[in-house]
Amino acid sequence: MTTPHDAARFAHAAAGTPTTADTSRVVLVTGASGYLGRAIAAAVAAPGTYVVCHYRSDLAGAEKAVAAVEERGGTATLVQADLTDRDAPRALLEACPATPDVLVANAGTTADGLSMMMSDESFDLVVDANLSASFRCARAVLRPMLRARSGRIVFVGSVAGLLGNAGQANYSAAKAGLGGLARALAREVAARGITVNVVAPGVLDGGLAGAPATAAGIDTTVGLDALAAAIPARRRGRAEEVAAAVAFLAGPDASYITGATLAVDGGLSMGC
């Protein structure tokens, strides 16, 4: 007998896409279309791994993620959703051919600006898209993971959450929030073989750190440049370097790591 969720899943599988051989490991990556998301999809890809690549609007980017997965012998599918939509997690789960083994909550956004001029909308949007959406995705995968008594959840945080970044009060708050969220979730499910961790990228050479400030007329790249000047490694990071850490925490070797925050930032936040 099946639950309605199973029925949806089996209908998807019956539509002809994946075979059992392709789905020995199912990894769901949100924001797979972005600079870091594509690298994560590639890093977790392997023969026998099925990567569900979520995107909001960047279809071209998402297709690059799929191509990267397939190049590495994995199988991939796309799922479009706006994660601020309360129904999005259900759509993500329905795109999975079987219970997800891994959730990488990587999708995020910025809306930079000086705090004293930051609107409620800017603050709320960034917290919703980065923190609340990650919570909703995690909540959705926890049930099937609980039933399977196994799972990996990795939240993509940021050095901004550890150190704070001028012009990014909303982003810093949301990313710092992922740490508390990860630890609370980790405590709830640790005894069930499910780990929940945070990877905190530093200043990267592309993606959100490479994009100019979105707030009108306010140059917040000053904050980022100042941060970058303080990096002990004296260079920005590459997406692959962060993705490797995500892939490790998402894998079987990280079975005794939970509630941890792993900064991949060239030493920027060490000691925090």
Binding site: M1, T2, T3, P4, D6, R143, R147, E188, R192
Partner: protein
């Protein structure tokens, strides 16, 4: 399915998830107060019962199921015809 069969099925689930002996799962014993079943285990038990009996147990109903008797009654009335 008879009440006794539902209860036996539920007892098997409780035993599998918590290690509590199936004999201890009687209609009027309380999950939390008497059997010491924590909230996460209750969710696991509900998920397993959903699969085994082909029903949906919404969270808002789960919190009201204090005893195995409550659970059996809920599962019976929620059951879809086979």
């Amino acid at each position: 399915m008879t009440d006794a069969e539902y209860l036996a099925g539920l007892a098997e689930i409780v035993n599998e998830i918590t290690g509590i002996s199936a004999d201890a799962v009687t209609p009027d014993v309380r999950f939390t107060d008497d059997l010491d079943v924590d909230s996460l285990s209750m969710v696991e038990i509900a998920l397993a019962a959903e699969e085994k009996f082909g029903v949906r147990i919404p969270d808002s109903d789960l919190v009201k199921l204090k005893t195995p008797g409550d659970a059996v009654a809920f599962i019976k009335q929620a059951g879809v015809p086979a």
